[in-house]
Amino acid sequence: MSTFIEKLGNLDRRVIFVLMALAVIIPLALRMNLPIPIDQGPSMDLYNMIDALPEGSRVLLSFDYDPSTMPELQPMAIALVQQLMTKDIKIVSMALWPMGVSLGNEALIAVSDSLGREEYVDWVNLGYKTGGGVLIVRLGSDIKSVFPVDYDGNSIDDMPVMQGVNKLGDLDMIISLSAGEPGIETWVMMAGDRYNLPVGGGCTAVSAPQLYPFLATGQLIGLLGGLKGAGDYETMVRVGVENPPPGIAIAGMAAQSVAHLVIMLFIIIGNIAYLSEKKRKGGAK
């Protein structure tokens, strides 16, 4: 018995990799769907805040991530854009990360086409500029001096969506989808606190714990943390929608559930082997 446990403790890492791959692939291949319960929490706070905005409000949506974190953040982007466009809220988007522009554009175009919204009237993508926190401070005094043209090179003066929007204070809310710095924290410090604007956001699961202090103080009005946050949001946005499109995050939650169970199982096996070895060594003494 002890030999078996010892063998288990020295499990080849390739076995772990294969089991981990199967734990992810099988639920996705079988299109497993687990019910996602929506409780009162940071995800619902963000949903309610956007839901309370009147029609025609203007929201700045910042895509502060790159493709490496796309599996977690892109479903959030799509669900948020869906909610904003369905409610006829105008979107002024930009990015503090260079590769976030294209990812944001993809989400905006896909949802805009499906809902029949018009670029420059209902939404605009201003693009990327370097500078992080300093850039945000400049946007606070004059957006047009930082972004005279949008991502496609068109002057923002002529765009209906930008009429009356000269500085951050002219917007009703800021949402940052962030994979690190510059991101949510920068928006909270440089825009939320300075110009008294509500800031919400979405981030990767690993960075969510760092942002909880901002939730407690109300500096951050809501937060989508990792795939769970994206799954929560997809579920909320789909309520009351007839034949909603398949949710990417909802599908991923089943795979993540099984993957978490497999990791926990490995930890338990590792600990059984460790305790058994400790006991054996203790007995030998």
């Binding site: 499990l11 890492r13 772990i16 990799f17 981990m20 791959a21 992810v24 687990l34 019910p35 996602i36 319960p37 409780d39 929490g41 790159d66 493709p67 490496s68 796309m70 599996p71 590769m99 294209s102 990812l103 554009n105 993809e106 175009i109 370097t130 500078g131 300093v134 401070v137 400049r138 005094s141 930082v146 991502y151 496609d152 699961a205 969510a208 714990p209 760092q210 909880y212 202090p213 939730l215 407690a216 943390g225 769970k228 799954g231 939650m253 089943a254 993540q256 559930s257 993957a259 978490h260 169970l261 990791i263 926990m264 490995f266 930890i267 096996i269 590792g270 600990n271 460790y274 305790l275």
Partner: protein, 205 residues
């Protein structure tokens, strides 16, 4: 002089940025410095690109360790620059196609590999060796279960306990770290403005 001029620039720029919060007359100067910062930061992207080319051509030329990957980097770099300059960067053009179909999936794949390493590392290193490690282990289990639907299927209170861990013990720790880091940042900034900390000058004494 080599030392005095950079120290003087740092002092003046730093003081303007602090004073602009308290003296309205210094606000325009602060705005100008912020614009300069953005111009300098943009120029740094160009320098980064030049540096990338230099590093990899050097590796190829002298056949340094892992030099075989360098041509891939340089070719990828050149292809993205050429398609961007020739066709533009708007949606549905070659640059965007390459980004969406190659860069995005490859970057996502690299990040996804973490799951395998996390599983392997957790198996080997996450041990209940003492009561503190055991507490950490239990907290990790609760949060892991609370973050997935299967957790509430096992017991509907797990997500609530997970959220409590995030909102109280986690937040207390995070706040302590944040406040400590912020104090350190203020202290380091003041040391740099007043010329006490000079390591950013590249080791000049």
């Amino acid at each position: 002089m080599r030392l005095a001029i950079p120290l003087m620039i740092t002092f003046v720029a730093g003081m303007i940025m602090i004073l602009q919060f308290f003296v309205p007359a210094t606000q325009p100067m602060g705005d100008s410095l912020q614009e300069w910062y953005m111009i300098v930061a943009s120029a740094a992207i160009f320098l980064g690109a030049v540096n990338l080319i230099q590093v990899h051509t050097h590796k190829i030329r002298f056949k340094l360790k892992n030099w075989k990957y360098s041509p891939v980097t340089l070719i990828g770099f050149a292809v993205m620059i050429i398609t961007g300059l020739v066709f533009g960067i708007e949606a549905d053009l070659p640059f965007d196609y390459l980004f969406q179909q190659m860069v995005a999936p490859m970057a996502a794949t690299m990040f996804s590999l973490l799951a395998f390493f996390v599983a392997s590392a957790a198996f080997r290193a996450f041990r209940a060796s003492n009561w503190r490690a055991t507490l950490l282990l239990i907290s990790a289990f609760v949060v892991m279960l609370g973050r997935v639907p299967i957790g509430s299927m096992i017991w509907n209170k797990i997500p609530l306990i997970s959220e409590w861990i995030m909102q109280y013990p986690n937040m207390a720790g995070q706040r302590a770290v944040m406040i400590g880091a912020a104090m350190g940042m203020v202290a380091t900034s003041l040391r740099m403005i007043f010329g006490v900390e000079r390591s950013y000058l590249g080791g000049a004494d």
